[in-house]
Point group: C2
Chain length 427, copies 2
Amino acid sequence: MNPVRVALLGCGTVGADVVRLLNEQAADLTARIGAPLQLVGIAVRRPARDRGDLPVDPALFTTDALDLVKRDDVDIVVEVVGGIEPARTWLVEALHRGKSVVTANKALLAEDGPTLHQAAVDGRADLYYEASVAGAIPLLRPLRESLHGDRITRVTGIVNGTTNFILSSMDATGAGFSEALDEATALGYAEADPTADVEGFDAAAKAAILASLAFHTRIRAADVYREGITEVSAADVASAKAMGCTIKLLCLAERSGDAVSVRVHPAMIPRTHPLASVSDAFNAVFVEAEAAGQLMFYGRGAGGAPTASAVLGDIVAVARNRLAGVRAASESAYADLRVRPIGEATTRYHISLDVSDRAGVLAAVAGVFAKHGVSIATVHQSGRGNEAVLVIVTHRAKDAALAATVAELRSLDIVRSVASVLRVEGE
Amino acid sequence: MNPVRVALLGCGTVGADVVRLLNEQAADLTARIGAPLQLVGIAVRRPARDRGDLPVDPALFTTDALDLVKRDDVDIVVEVVGGIEPARTWLVEALHRGKSVVTANKALLAEDGPTLHQAAVDGRADLYYEASVAGAIPLLRPLRESLHGDRITRVTGIVNGTTNFILSSMDATGAGFSEALDEATALGYAEADPTADVEGFDAAAKAAILASLAFHTRIRAADVYREGITEVSAADVASAKAMGCTIKLLCLAERSGDAVSVRVHPAMIPRTHPLASVSDAFNAVFVEAEAAGQLMFYGRGAGGAPTASAVLGDIVAVARNRLAGVRAASESAYADLRVRPIGEATTRYHISLDVSDRAGVLAAVAGVFAKHGVSIATVHQSGRGNEAVLVIVTHRAKDAALAATVAELRSLDIVRSVASVLRVEGE
């Protein structure tokens, strides 16, 4: 039986685990595919680098990725490099030549997915990317296939392990953001430059991919409203606890009518919500669909072996497709939905105000909410000397109305400061 | 565009929701498939039955299911009747004629899956059955496809909503089994004859299907060791609580070496285990794989709409395959693993003994465990008058050794009775 020939682009943590699994599981993979997989080339920046006991022939290494994807003896291109360029050039070239592509590159898919999908159509090739969102969790295939007879209304996910580790740590120890970030860095959960994680860029890319699949439309990273967790304070975490909540960096994608809202921001969720108990570096995605009801998918969102598991699952699928002479269904973007700006999204706010402790403060504050049509759910007032703290939780309202309310509160003389503003979700 | 023509066998709760979804989602389904779905016949026992506002032409009803599946104008046969015969005859006939089959029939798949799979190969037709296990939860497709690059080591599931409702109720209220069953019956969670659920037959069928997919081997319902929940007492539930555990009816499928152990029985699991918080009629399946690590899939395991969601997802998949002129990969049973008898499975026991309160009892009891090579993890002794209760939790051991230990304990004079024996899992 002729082997199915695989070129690997990148051999870092994930790539090395892909090589190991290809080796260790060779007999099972052959049985499942119906032909052996053969690794025919690995593109890396530094071929001479010490790769420990990686079971691979050094002759397979090359620095010329573009040349590798063009080779006639390559059937499947697996990309675990990341970033927009040169990955895009390599993958478009591979797809145009009819080679199947398996990628974990969320940034590229979220930035310019349509270009890749079009190249797959043009080359009549497969484009699989299960590993791009939530690592090992089988999530994209269920969204792409299992739920195709249903109508998904909302996807709520914890899809970034670094920020979930930091927020879990703040929740458990009362630490502030900087302290928790330092711990995450020391333990290897955060990168030296943690910007992509803590500012929500990584989660926003994954939100764009999830929303595109869930709603059969095109959402790019630029369509996703994004706030990171750098402003989340120990006081916010304490406030959340007092409300029976915990703070998570959520990605939320909601459909209403012919529009979708996609956003990434920290939010309080009740401790009774299934996502509340997803701690440390685990990921989970909660999906709500009209007929299926509530579903949750949980597992490891990052790491070499879990991500490699997802990559290998895709390799098996595209290898089978090649042997059967077929390709998977193309991108499904027929719904072509409008993207709602964040102001149109509905959410609830939790607002802490430091106010002058004098008669009439509550009436004045309540008047601002009423003026913007925002209904208050609960108010807690506590005072010390001539200062008081008002903690207000609203009912659901448009984000624009909530933001305008906060802006006006900041301008009131009786409001010394707006100590914190957090959205509340999951209720 | 020519429609893809669907015949429906059965129009009970699930069938009616399939009809509703086909109707409500028609535009989306057409866009996702690339052609419209057309319902061309519905086989039922009583065509004249009042079906409320079901949006269907009464002329579509027939009592002759076999004739319906033979019709040339049928492309896809959807079976939601259940049971072994006549469903097997209908589906084999359909598959032999090259028609794609979507079924929710766990009993048939677990009893005689190989016959259906062979008929699918012979007829070059698709056989999909996502709805047969855990209702709306996309579970079989992830096992069949997403995890194909990995090696699954264990599957632990709560896959029967009726028993989970009963056990959740016993845990919450302290009620006994009969009382909780009556409540479940009154609320419609248990059928008039609850045998299939409470004796574990339903869960055993699902365990067989899950184990077959997870381990690429053939497991039939008869291979599954099975104990129901009728013997679980309020005292057992209280004992579990005292240990920080809750009792669940688990389906467990484990691979070690070239053998698998598949069993369904009530077990104590720690309240900190992700499955412990799966309550009422929800289902969840916990999957452990070498590279992926721990994964969990959670959602509604039964009910018309959730099950119909899974059926529709399969209909979309097989309709697309037909239009593309392809069929999905056949049954993967290459591993051909031996089934371990229950005695070879390893587990832990929680044992409550009523004993004579006299010196030497603990030594005598401990001697029995030692004789059978079973290591004790904890002992709690409490006494009243000249009676005492010993609660013993073992370390992991072969089930046969544990069972032999219990049998010998029963024969001791100093043991008045063995009050309860429960397995402990999830640690």
